[in-house]
Amino acid sequence: MRNANLLPILPQQLEPLFFEYIETIEIPLLASCISAGFPSPADDYLEENINIGRYLIQNPASTYMMRVKGNSMVEANIHEGDILIIDRAQDAADGLPVICILEGEFTVKTFKRIKDKAFLVPANPAYKSIEVTEEMDMRVWGVVVWILHKPVKL
């Protein structure tokens, strides 16, 4: 059954389609939760089909993907090599992971507002928060709405 490979399939499935084939990819959702124990065939029945494109992407016109390089967001589940799905139509509310442009480079950090100051906060104790000043000419480029990564091999 296709759903058994849900996570590993995602990046490959998205590769040729981008937003053209979105309507066509539907993946069955099973009624029961996946338990980590012995699989029970009795639970294994279809509840509905999920259109994976529509599930992941609310605003196709403003959605982009980017690849991650670096490790300052590991505790926010953003790892090197991950693919981020970014929506430029969303507001950069406090506490959301955002893509911003700093000195001509795209970077991903958590956006935080403390009183009248704005900060870009990493999710790795090895790095410091960046206080955003006017001279930095920082612009928010979009909000990370999904992170695509392969499951870790144990």
Partner: protein
């Protein structure tokens, strides 16, 4: 009773949204450090400049200037040049058009960077505010700056858009609904800049001291009909605020399709010219299928480089009438090849070849020959399968053998940016350091 009889105000209203220096803006979306810096985009084969940012214009770089004339500026780092990346521009254009279509259900995409919006019925809203909202949303969602001109007719919306781009005060948004403002805008528009007035008509009008759009709008209908046919009259009425050009929400099928390119290098071998021509024929066939048409005539042309003083010059073309109209790669390639063989001569360095298909008819209206030996059902199924594979795996992955696999004749594009939004291996990178 129609609205005119009822004495109601005319409520037609169009917006023209035009992307600013579109190709350059697309390159800047993923290269933000290039904002406010001189950027140019080069034609196929890196031949000449086809798009310039405002900063590049300020440096005096002209449209169409050969690349070698500004190469020193690029090599010294004064200007950033890009080879054209149509996959990126096409995808970003789709995003812009999708965003614009959120603001009205009726849109006409008139080119890759331009779109008319029917805002009829929006008279009661604050149009300036609405236009500003459209502009800001497109910029925020897609990264592409647009200018908007709003007016009661399409021709006036064009005038408004042009002024919106030029005027610092307008800052990219101009609403022309007040008669006084419309007159001022027409005064400020040169007659040669009016949408639909070609070079010849502009020369003709200027000789008669008709220098601005306002001068033109004051002409008599009879005089315009006499000298510029009914098309001119329509334009006259449009400039006077009477809407004659409707929104074309579905683009009409093209009447002729041409695919031609300059070769990346000088080519003399028959095989290479043949491969290139076959590839162009296949692209024409694909375009025909996309618009649901077939062609009756195929023309092939080729020529040497007219700017090369040391080469012998030769140019020729040949048109072949097909027995049955077709949109099959294999058939068009076959007939393009027949045409090519009649004009290809040995001993020349060829610079460019191309294929033009004409006599285009709807796919369903093809007249079959009585003794037609081609199994058309099979061809159609095969083409459908090939198109499916092409859409999935990219252009050229499946092809007719005549198109070859070496393709050393193909274009040069030394400065091409990645397929940021169309190729998963070339996604932009976000750094988390």
């Amino acid at each position: 009773m129609d609205s005119a009889q009822a004495g109601e105000a005319v409520t037609s209203l169009f917006a023209l949204a035009d992307c600013n220096s579109f190709y350059c803006s697309c390159e800047r979306v993923f290269r933000p450090e290039l904002n406010e810096k001189p950027v140019v985009v080069l034609s196929n084969n890196d031949g000449c400049v086809i798009a310039r940012s405002n900063e590049a214009k300020e440096l005096g770089i002209q449209m169409g200037v050969p690349f070698f004339e500004i190469r020193h500026l690029v090599e010294n780092g004064h200007v950033q040049a890009f080879s054209s990346n149509y996959a990126l521009y096409g995808d970003l254009s789709d995003k812009v058009m999708q965003t614009l279509s959120r603001f009205t259900p009726h849109v006409e995409v008139s080119s890759i960077d331009e779109c008319f919006l029917d805002l009829g019925g929006f008279y009661k809203v604050d149009l300036h505010q609405y236009a500003w909202e459209i502009k800001q949303t497109v910029l925020q969602w897609t990264g592409i700056p647009v200018s908007l001109g709003i007016a009661p007719t399409k021709a006036l919306a064009k005038v408004a858009n042009k002024l919106a781009k030029k005027s610092r005060k307008a800052n990219g948004v101009l609403v022309l609904t007040e008669p006084y403002h419309i007159q001022k805008a027409l005064e400020a528009t040169k007659v040669e800049d009016v949408w639909g007035i070609g070079r010849q008509h502009a020369r003709f009008l200027k000789k008669r001291n008709i220098l601005t759009a306002r001068d033109f709008a004051q002409l008599s209908e009879n005089w315009v009909r006499q000298h510029m046919t009914v098309v001119g009259v329509r334009l006259l009425k449009e400039l006077r605020g009477e809407s004659c050009l409707e929104l074309e929400e579905v683009a009409p099928p093209k009447k002729g399709i041409c695919t031609s390119r300059s070769f990346g290098k000088r080519v003399s071998s028959f095989d290479e010219v043949q491969e290139a021509t076959a590839t162009y024929a296949a692209r024409c066939a694909k375009k025909l299928r996309q618009q649901g048409s077939s062609a009756n005539l195929v023309t092939v042309f080729l020529h040497t480089n007219p700017f090369s003083a040391q080469d012998r010059q030769y140019a020729a073309s040949k048109t072949v009438c097909l027995p049955v109209a077709t949109n099959s790669d294999m058939e068009l390639i076959r007939y393009a090849n027949i045409a090519l063989k009649t004009i290809l001569r040995e001993g020349y360095w060829y610079k460019k070849s191309g294929v033009i298909v004409t006599g285009i008819v709807p796919e369903g209206h093809v007249q079959l020959g009585l003794l037609d030996p081609v199994n058309r059902g099979k061809h159609a199924r095969l083409m459908e399968a090939m198109d499916g594979l092409t859409d999935r795996f990219g252009r050229g992955k499946v092809r007719v053998a005549t198109q070859g696999f070496d393709n050393s004749w193909q274009l040069r594009s030394d400065y091409k940016s990645p397929g940021y939004t169309t190729n998963i291996n070339e996604l932009p990178t976000a750094y988390v350091r």
